[in-house]
Symmetry: C2
């Protein structure tokens, strides 16, 4: 039996994050409200520290370390936002952090992780198993492994974003969150079930990588190859044990959108809302938008997960 | 004698704008705080309605119309954010708006102005005088002319941005605002002098168009040719009577920055703060940044004036 996190854990995480995470703004757009005939509230985690919601889960998890765990430090594997979230959180809490990243990770991401004080261990993604390397480092040096999503404290931390959203704007009729490994969606579900029991909870994946949708509908965790999509934060190959259990229990459906819809979302956020949103951060919005009149008259929450997209890449994507 | 607006007028404007203008977020960046050894507060008018602070002054001015003025409507001349601000404000207040725009204005801006319900009158900028056309239309049809900056109600409205900023973060040691015709700077000065008497107030212009700086230093309004700069919101040729009188009385200095510094600012806002800021909106930040250690230990306010930059143009500017 898994010891799943609860809404109480989300509330405890919110206390730990108070004064450390940004209470990110909720933005609205009259244009999109008119288009959908709905009231849409965007929770802007692109304005979170290090540019994504991942800070919430990482910081919450590290806060719960014992004195002994802190002295030895944390290890994780990630080429994306979780790497920087762990490195930054560890630096704030004064503990060492080891991050296992692929050799071919973008130099900027490696540099950013090192910039936050993280020690980077590179591996060959065609030959090595990153989870194995992480576990070995943990074992050899007494480090505590905090994986990117399949961890109760990480899920509880991610749930604080939706909790803040509903505290600020009141109950919602529907909420949309992106799905990679399912940490944000599971945390969002814990918050939404507690604060707005009737709220429809939707996860959103890239069409090319719909393992979460398949898992949700089949009732068993489906593994896929690394999907070809511009949503690099949702290129995970499978849900986790914890995230799947919560998603299966609390979520209403998992939807998919195309990369073209994500690019349209990036253009909309830029032109109409003056915000930079990474492709993965557009998943929830793209799905809400494609539902069209089905959301009429509703109060809709959209988690905007992050804004970490290289400027050159952004310009190439929106110009294509 | 000009009847200059006062801080009381700014407060009255704030009441008129309540529930109609966005109370825009104040954003911070640990990166820039560390770089300058200061605490910098960005007042983000790029998130204002129609994407710029101009909504504040326009809406405030139109609110003060008599019933008879409302029936006849408003006329203005502008190819930029003021055109959309007047069109949107007039539409919200249910009055007709006529906007005099150059024939070669970007199609998107003409379309946006029409989209807000404004009636657009085009003129040839090489042959016609836009102020003359505006005055003639006002005279012939009984319209009230609201110019882009040289008007007491416009200035008082623009001052509400700095007032909100200081209400939210407390007194500041220095504040930076961009200067085109001087409406934002004059309004900022009214608010800052009242709420933080010791605050240094800086206006910032593009190097290529430093008529404001020349005017400030010489004590008389200097006219220039339309300057060659990417800061299209600051391509005005001279300050106004009202704005100059306030700026001369209350402002500490007018500084200039290069177009390269503006592009660096756009890159910084995009990459580190996940915000879209138009070139003119980067003037204040670029000047603050170039002061370097002179701001050490200070609490600094920066007015980010707007985010209306075409995505293709943005990408071309930051890639150059």
């Amino acid at each position: 039996m898994l010891d799943l996190p609860t809404f109480d854990d989300v509330c405890a995480a919110a206390q730990r994050l108070d004064q450390h995470a940004h209470r990110t703004p909720v933005m609205t757009s009259r244009t999109i409200d008119a288009e959908l005939g709905a009231q849409v509230f965007f929770k802007c985690e692109n304005f979170q520290r290090m540019g994504a919601f991942k800070f919430r889960g990482a910081y919450n998890a590290l806060c719960r370390f014992s004195a002994r765990q802190r002295r030895a430090g944390v290890v994780t594997f990630s080429s994306g936002n979780h790497a920087q979230a762990i490195a930054l959180s560890a630096s704030l809490l004064g503990m060492p952090a080891t991050i296992v990243m692929p050799q071919d990770a973008p130099a900027a991401k490696v540099a950013a992780t090192r910039g936050y004080g993280g020690q980077v261990v590179l591996y060959d993604r065609y030959r090595d198993d990153r989870e194995q390397i992480g576990l070995e480092l943990a074992h050899r040096h007494g480090l505590t492994l905090i994986p990117p999503y399949d961890h109760a404290d990480v899920i509880a931390g991610q749930g604080t974003a939706a909790r803040e959203l509903m505290q600020e704007v009141g109950p919602l009729d529907a909420v949309f969150a992106c799905v990679g490994g399912g940490g944000l969606l599971a945390g969002t579900a814990l918050a939404a079930r507690a604060l707005a029991p009737a709220c429809k909870i939707y996860g959103v994946e890239p069409q090319a990588g719909n393992d979460g949708q398949q898992s949700f509908r089949s009732g068993t965790i489906v593994h896929t190859e690394t999907p070809q999509t511009i949503a690099d934060g949702a290129q995970t190959q499978h849900l986790g044990q914890y995230t799947f259990a919560i998603i299966r229990r609390d979520v209403d459906d998992i939807l998919t959108v195309s990369d073209e819809q994500l690019v349209d979302g990036m253009r909309f956020f830029f032109s109409r809302m003056k915000m930079v949103v990474e492709p993965t951060g557009c998943l929830g919005f793209a799905a809400a938008r494609s539902m069209g009149s089905a959301l009429q008259g509703q109060r809709v929450g959209v988690l905007v997960s992050g804004g970490n997209v290289d400027m050159q890449r952004f310009c190439a994507l929106v110009s294509a």
